[in-house]
Structure formats: structure tokens, C-alpha cells
């Protein structure tokens, strides 16, 4: 069986496994374009995974994300469903980096903005955060207004980039 995952550095991993009575063995593993030779096995123990070096990992899946605690560190790997390209069509949309309240919308629809310009001021958990224009562009749509409560990842502004 083969699965693809994306790590915190947007690096893509493809892992091919074969299973036997004594757990799983890696057939092939790659990180980006690089093939990795692996000589480890792993076995499932309830909600944990036991690796052949004797270490245990605690895992849990939330949505498409695998959360894993191993050797005192926590990681999140996103499962890439076959046939889905996650990097599609998000260009031009500016999203809320955290859930919170919109304190100020500093631009209007149709306004020309410059890269680095502050567009929206938001607040969550006593912290203020500015959403800035990543590139020069035109405000195509404003999808929030002052006082709105927004979720993390909610689209706040559509920005048309300078082609």
C-alpha cells in the first residue's frame, strides 16, 4: 500500500509498505525527489506504533492530519488523498491566520494596494495581527467587515495579482 504525506516544510513523502504477521516493512520511501533507503519495521500497538528501534509513537488522526508524538516531539503530517492537488486555486485569497475578531478593514473594494501594505487588523486571544498584501494588486472582494468573528483559514480578501 502506498500513501503520500506532506510535512511542516511542505515536503512531500511517499511511503510504500508491505504487511506481514510481524508488522509493516517499508518497500520504498521518498522525500520530494529523493529516494530513501530504509531498514525499519513498525508494528501497531493499539493507538501507538512500535518501531523496530524500540521507540514508540502516539498518533491520532484529525481530519486529514496525522498528529504524532515521538521521542518527545510532536509533528503533524497531512495525508494527501490521491487525485487531489491541495495547492490549487488558493492564489489571490488572503485567509485568516488565526481565528478571531476583525478589528479594522483598512482597504475598500477596487482599491490598488502595494505589497506589504496592511489590509486587515484582527485580534484573537489578546493578540493583534495584521494581514498584509503579499503582492501588489487590486482588491477584488472584501469578505469580512469590522467586528466579524472569523475562523482560521476563512477567506478575508480576494486580491488580483499584477500579472
Amino acid at each position: 500500500m502506498q500513501n503520500e504525506f506532506q510535512d511542516c516544510n511542505s515536503e512531500k513523502w511517499v511511503v510504500t509498505l508491505s504487511s506481514s504477521a510481524h508488522g509493516f516493512t517499508v518497500e520504498a520511501m521518498s522525500r520530494g525527489a529523493e529516494n530513501i533507503a530504509v531498514d525499519v519495521r513498525a508494528e501497531r500497538k493499539g493507538s501507538k506504533i512500535l518501531l523496530s528501534d524500540g521507540t514508540m509513537a502516539t498518533l491520532c488522526k484529525v481530519g486529514d492530519d496525522w498528529w504524532i508524538h515521538h521521542s518527545g516531539r510532536t509533528h503533524k503530517l497531512q495525508l494527501i488523498e490521491p487525485g487531489l492537488d491541495s495547492s490549487e486555486d488558493s492564489e489571490g485569497s488572503l485567509v485568516a491566520p488565526m481565528p478571531g475578531t476583525i478589528l479594522d478593514v483598512m482597504v475598500t473594494r477596487g482599491e490598488q494596494v502595494a505589497a506589504g501594505q496592511a489590509l486587515i487588523l484582527m485580534e484573537a486571544m489578546k493578540m493583534e495581527h495584521k494581514v498584509v498584501a503579499p503582492t501588489d494588486g487590486l482588491i477584488e472582494a472584501l469578505l469580512c467587515s469590522q467586528g466579524d468573528r472569523v475562523e482560521q483559514g476563512a477567506v478575508l480578501i480576494e486580491l488580483s495579482g499584477k500579472e
Binding site: 511542516c8 509493516f24 501497531r44 493499539g46 493507538s47 518501531l51 502516539t58 491520532c60 503530517l77 493578540m127
Partner: protein, 517 residues
């Protein structure tokens, strides 16, 4: 029936309303249980399933939405107390804990206020008054001047003149300020005017009081605070210091006791100053006097926090004194049962604050489900939290999930213990700062005790980078996916059926069934 420990108390009580939520509410409820006091939790609608509500003997819904209508609604809280036979109110920290009008209202309603007298809160809450009182009491304050001019133009001129005398860099602070609001740093004389106007405007808007004062900015200083206890009979003792230098944007991240730079002599001096500070405002209860300590070892009064502090557990660890229990004893009108000479510092304690935040993306607050929550255990480890597995982390409240506290024989042993405890802490489903804290406590400068308020900015000025996953990690994830490990479950039913021995209660290998290597 008066509880045995309360015999002879002037203001006995047996039922306590906890006017707070989350971790500190749980902490206070635990003290209530130990003391035989009945506890009442009050909670907003969105907290109805929270741990502190479950832990309290009774829980009562606060009508309304938002903080102002719920946890900050003193009127509603007092009315609930009166209707439900409550005798005393403990405010915890934050929320209503430093509102003197609330303290007065509690007393006027005939209830016992578990906190300092309203007049002490006011004297310390107004920073200009506090500075004046401290100078009179012989407590060293930060070099600076209070500005007493009501005419805006004259005030700006006075600020300008004062800034010449004090020197750069300096801070312009609002007298009514706190929590970083109404505070401006000035590093050039040309910036004094603008900074003064901004600080004034911000303070005017936030506190309705624009009075400001100027303090010399003490760079690379340490933030060290002294815990005090004062009873209603003018007995005041101190319980040593807490080193709180490791901060980010004026929010404490790690605290330790004792401080690696405070000698017996300095502790005695600072302790005496803190006791004088408390006496100067006729303080009662548990309180904290904050000082800035310069690299030359001189200390200056910063402010007094007239409540229990977030980081109180480290003092409890090294002194063996339960501060929340003492708060209740003092509120009941009992005298302190310890003298200064009974207090000694035993070993070393460190606390870290576990936040739902993403250190890798500028420490932005994070939300999510605590799909898996496994707190560390074992010798010398204490976890104070208000959450448990399955809880949602929402943006409505403070992002602090837990305080992890360790206690060991000395500082190095405490650092090693913290490292072990952090590595045991499993939190899955929400991003936290646990891995960052692990790097922080292992930093050579921290290990060497070289901490100042600039510590995080100095070492992680360009941000913190999370460790990329190892091959083992990716393999474990691939195996979990391939074996169809259930979503969001602690123990999957299918895995148990795979292994018939798991159902046998007499099987001694249930938890140690390792096979590799």
C-alpha cells in the same frame, strides 16, 4: 458547624464561590476540597462542559454572552452568591481579582472577600500613587518622575524636561496602565512628544485616565518578584523570590524559584523591601511585589500584583506552603501560622506555561480539538490545567492550556526533570509551544542561568523553527494510515480484537506487550 481548621476565626465560612474559570478555578476548587469547603462554579454558556464546572460541588450558569456580561459581571456573580447560600468569593487572577469596586461590593453584600482590602488594590493599581507610597516606605523605585500637569501642553513640556533629567532610553507609562497597555519606550528625545501623546491617548481610551509617569528603561534587567503573605493582624512574611525573566511581549513563559542570581543576602533585602511595600498599603492576603534587578544587582520596585499569581506553584514547591489555602485562612481572619524564620527554600522549581499557539508562525494563537491529551506524571511533576482530552480550544478565552511545574533538589536536576516531563507531554490535535519550551530549557544560556527579559527575542529573534519529521516519524504515520487506525480515538476497538490477550484481565503484559527489538 465550623470546620476544625477555622475554629476561632473571626469570619468563618463553609461555601465558596469561585469567580473564575479554567485552570485557576480548578486549582481553587481543589483547595476547597482539601479544606472541606463547598465550592460553587459560575460559568458562561460555552463553558458548561469545562473541567472546572465538573469539579465544583455546584455550578451555576452566568446569563449573557461575552466577558462583560459573564465573568466580569460582578453584580450577577454577587446575586448568584446571595441566592445560593455562598459565604465567600475567591476571584482567582485576572477578571475581577483586581477590581476594588468588586471587592467593596462583595464586602457590602455581607460576603467574605478572599483577597486584599479594596484600598490596597487601589493604592497599588494606580502606579503613580504606588511609586509615591513606595518611596515613602523606603522601597527603591525605578528612577523616574510622576507628571502632575492637567493642561496638555504644559504636561508635554513637563514630560520633555523630565526626560532630559532621566536620560535615554526611557519608558512613558500610564498611571492606570497594566498588561502592556498605555506604555511607550523612547530611545530618542525627538520621540518623547509622540510617545507621550500615544501613551496618554491609549490610557485615556482603555482606563479613562490619561495621567502618565516616566521611568528610566533598565535594559537587560531581570524580572524578579517576591511572594508575600499578610494577615489581618499586621503580620507580613515573604516566601522568597520567583525569577520571571523569560517573557515574550511582556507575557511570562517560564518561571523559576529560587532565582539563579539571588543570593541569601539579596533575598533578605528584597524580601524586607516587599514586606515594607505590603505594610505601606495595609495589605492582607497573598500578594506579589515585582522588582527589576539590574545587571549590577540593584533592585527597583516595578509594581505589586494584589492577587494570587499564575506562577504561584513554584513558590509552593520550594517553601511547602499552600498559598491558596493560606488565602482562605487569612480571609477567614486567622493569623499567619508561620513566622519569617520558619520559611526556608528547599530545592529548585520551574514552571512553564503550555499555550495553544504556533511558535513556528510567530506564536500565533492556535485552536483545535485536544484529540489526545496525556500529561506527564512521576516524581516532582505537577500539572495545573483546566482542560482534558476531548476539549475544544476556542478563541474565546486565554490560550494557556496548562502549567507544568517540576520540583527537584537543585537547578540542574530541575532542568533535567522538566526536559523529561515535557517529552512525556502528549498533546495531539492542537498546535502548542511544548517543543519550543523543550528547546528553551535546553538552551546553553538558560542552563547557565543567563536569562533576562530579552532572552527569547535575543535567541529566537528571527523566529523558531520546528524540527522536520524523521524517517521513523513518517514511517509510523504511514503504518497508522495503512492499518486504519481510527480517527480521534484513544484506543481503537479493532486493535483490541486483533489481540485476544488484551481482553484477559489477568494478563500482566497488557501494558508492556512490546515485541521489538
Amino acid at each position: 458547624m465550623v470546620l476544625d481548621w477555622m475554629e476561632g476565626a473571626e469570619r468563618p465560612f463553609s461555601k465558596v464561590l469561585v469567580a473564575n474559570r479554567g485552570e485557576i478555578a480548578c486549582r481553587i476548587i481543589r483547595a476547597c476540597k482539601e479544606l472541606g469547603l463547598n465550592s460553587v462554579a459560575v460559568h458562561a454558556e460555552d463553558d458548561k462542559d469545562s473541567l472546572f464546572v465538573e469539579m465544583a460541588d455546584e455550578s451555576i450558569l452566568l446569563e449573557g454572552t461575552g466577558l462583560a456580561q459573564t465573568y466580569l459581571n460582578g453584580e450577577q456573580i454577587i446575586s448568584i452568591a446571595l441566592k445560593n447560600g455562598v459565604h465567600a468569593i475567591h476571584p482567582g487572577f485576572g477578571f475581577l481579582s483586581e477590581r476594588s469596586d468588586f471587592a467593596n461590593a462583595v464586602n457590602s453584600a455581607g460576603l467574605v472577600w478572599v483577597g486584599p482590602p479594596a484600598q490596597a488594590i487601589d493604592s497599588m493599581g494606580d502606579k503613580m500613587t504606588a511609586r509615591r507610597l513606595m518611596r515613602q516606605a523606603g522601597v527603591p523605585v525605578i528612577p523616574g518622575e510622576e507628571i502632575n500637569e492637567s493642561d496638555p501642553e504644559k504636561e508635554l513640556a513637563a514630560i520633555h524636561e523630565a526626560s532630559q533629567r532621566i536620560g535615554l532610553p526611557l519608558m512613558i507609562k500610564a498611571s492606570a496602565g497594566g498588561g502592556g497597555k498605555g506604555m511607550r519606550m523612547v530611545s530618542e528625545f525627538s520621540g518623547v512628544r509622540g510617545a507621550a501623546q500615544a501613551a496618554r491617548r491609549e490610557a485615556e481610551a482603555a482606563f479613562g485616565d490619561g495621567r502618565v509617569y516616566i521611568e528610566k528603561m533598565l535594559t537587560s534587567s531581570r524580572h524578579i518578584e517576591i511572594q508575600i503573605l499578610a494577615d489581618s493582624f499586621s503580620n507580613v512574611i515573604h516566601l522568597g523570590e520567583r525569577e520571571c525573566s523569560v517573557q515574550r511581549r511582556h507575557q511570562k513563559v517560564l518561571e523559576e524559584a529560587p532565582s539563579p542570581v539571588v543570593s541569601e543576602g539579596l533575598r533578605a533585602q528584597m524580601g524586607a523591601a516587599a514586606v515594607n511595600a505590603a505594610k505601606a498599603v495595609f495589605y492582607e492576603g497573598a500578594g506579589t511585589v515585582e522588582f527589576l534587578v539590574t545587571t549590577h544587582g540593584t533592585f527597583h520596585f516595578l509594581e505589586m500584583n494584589t492577587r494570587i499569581q499564575v506562577e504561584h506553584p513554584i513558590t509552593e514547591c520550594v517553601t511547602g506552603v499552600d498559598l491558596v489555602v493560606e488565602q482562605f485562612r487569612i480571609a477567614a481572619g486567622l493569623p499567619l501560622n508561620r513566622e519569617q524564620t520558619d520559611i526556608s527554600i528547599n530545592g529548585h522549581s520551574i514552571e512553564v506555561r503550555i499555550y495553544a499557539e504556533s511558535p513556528a508562525s510567530g506564536f500565533l494563537p492556535a485552536t483545535g480539538t485536544l484529540a489526545r491529551w496525556q500529561a506527564p506524571e512521576g516524581p516532582g511533576v505537577r500539572v495545573d490545567t483546566g482542560v482534558r482530552q476531548g476539549d475544544e480550544v476556542t478563541p474565546s478565552y486565554d490560550p494557556m492550556l496548562a502549567k507544568l511545574i517540576v520540583h527537584a533538589s537543585d537547578r540542574n536536576a530541575a532542568i533535567r526533570r522538566m526536559r523529561r516531563a515535557l517529552s512525556e507531554f502528549v498533546i495531539l490535535g492542537t498546535v502548542t509551544n511544548v517543543d519550543f519550551l523543550q528547546d528553551l530549557i535546553q538552551h546553553p544560556s538558560f542552563k547557565a542561568g543567563r536569562t533576562s527579559t530579552d532572552f527569547i527575542a535575543e535567541h529566537w529573534g528571527n523566529g523558531w523553527t520546528e524540527q522536520a519529521p524523521s524517517i521513523d516519524v513518517v514511517l509510523a504515520v504511514a503504518v497508522a494510515e495503512a492499518s486504519g487506525m481510527q480517527r480521534n480515538k484513544t484506543v481503537s476497538a479493532s486493535s483490541e480484537s486483533l489481540d485476544p490477550l488484551r481482553h484477559d484481565p489477568s494478563n500482566p503484559f497488557l501494558s508492556i506487550g512490546k515485541r521489538f527489538p
